[in-house]
């Protein structure tokens, strides 16, 4: 696995931490739907015919995780009293996988946390 530029990785993390759909939320509009489908999956799986830069793939992975997280939490809040701990655990596991993708050479949580502050 190739190691990406640290500045690019930091940018990706900041992208992920940026409040998604901030403008739409402020305006009271529904957030723009993201349509992560077969084409995006083929990019992430590496089965797309054209070559895709590793940094762009990581951005897509981050966006997909952010999309899944927001959808899961929104669904939980709409249908039940709160977010189940199982959902939290599952999302934490997915986030840990994402961390390992972003920092393949430095996936330890203790080492990772100061980086995103």
């Amino acid at each position: 696995m190739s190691v990406i530029n640290p500045s690019l990785a930091h940018h990706i993390v900041l992208e992920m931490l940026t409040p998604s759909t901030s403008v739409s939320s402020y305006l009271g509009c529904p957030p723009t739907a993201s349509l992560f489908g077969k084409t995006i999956d083929s990019i992430l799986d590496g089965t797309v015919p054209c070559a895709v830069p590793r940094g762009f793939v990581l951005q897509l992975e981050t966006a997909r995780f952010s999309n899944r997280l927001s959808k899961a939490v929104a669904a939980c809040l709409e249908e039940v009293q709160g977010v189940s701990h199982r959902v939290v655990t599952q999302m934490e596991e997915e986030f840990a996988k994402l961390q390992r993708l972003l920092y393949p050479e430095n996936s330890g949580k203790v080492a990772f946390l100061p980086t995103i502050r």
């Binding site: 403008v23 739409s24 830069p53």
Partner: protein
């Protein structure tokens, strides 16, 4: 824009290289690296590339201010003529990823640009990752793209819409 191009050729011609060096890796939707080909395929995209590069590397502030004041009208005019060509969609994506410095929260057009870009991609079938669709092969529309361009643009649409 033509007046600007004639007045500042040295300045304009140095910006695409800076764009591809410093901005392109984060959103690689512009697949044509030759500035002349980029301009021929879509002037709006070309000027979006220039104004994006000028955000950090403007040698003359008047150029950047002129671009900011001008490109917004050009983009809105281009977005008002469906079906949108791939270059127009890519120009929207660049202005979403790197908005113009004159916007404010309530006047930020990014949210509307995202909707236009996503729906335009859906209308010409870019969500399939294929650039050629028989129903859009009418030469008048000039909508044929490569699979690579379609894939990158659709991925970028999803990326910026999640922000």
């Amino acid at each position: 824009m033509r007046r600007l191009q004639a007045t500042y050729p040295w300045h304009i011609h140095s910006q695409p290289r800076r764009y591809f060096e410093h901005f392109h890796p984060y959103l690689p939707v512009v697949r044509t690296r030759d500035p002349n080909d980029c301009y021929k395929s879509g002037p709006i995209l070309f000027w979006a590339v220039i104004v994006t590069a000028c955000r950090r590397y403007a040698k003359d502030e008047t150029v950047f201010q002129f671009l900011v004041e001008t490109i917004s009208a050009d983009v809105w005019a281009g977005a008002a003529q469906p079906p949108l060509r791939l270059t127009t969609i890519n120009a929207l994506l660049l202005l979403i990823a790197w908005p113009l410095p004159t916007i404010r929260l309530m006047t930020d057009p990014s949210y509307i640009f995202v909707g236009i870009a996503v729906n335009s991609c859906l209308s010409i079938g870019l969500q399939t990752g294929k650039g050629r669709h028989p129903e859009f092969t009418v030469p008048w529309y000039q909508l044929q793209t490569t699979d690579e361009e379609a894939t990158y643009t659709w991925a970028a649409c999803n990326l910026v819409s999640q922000r």
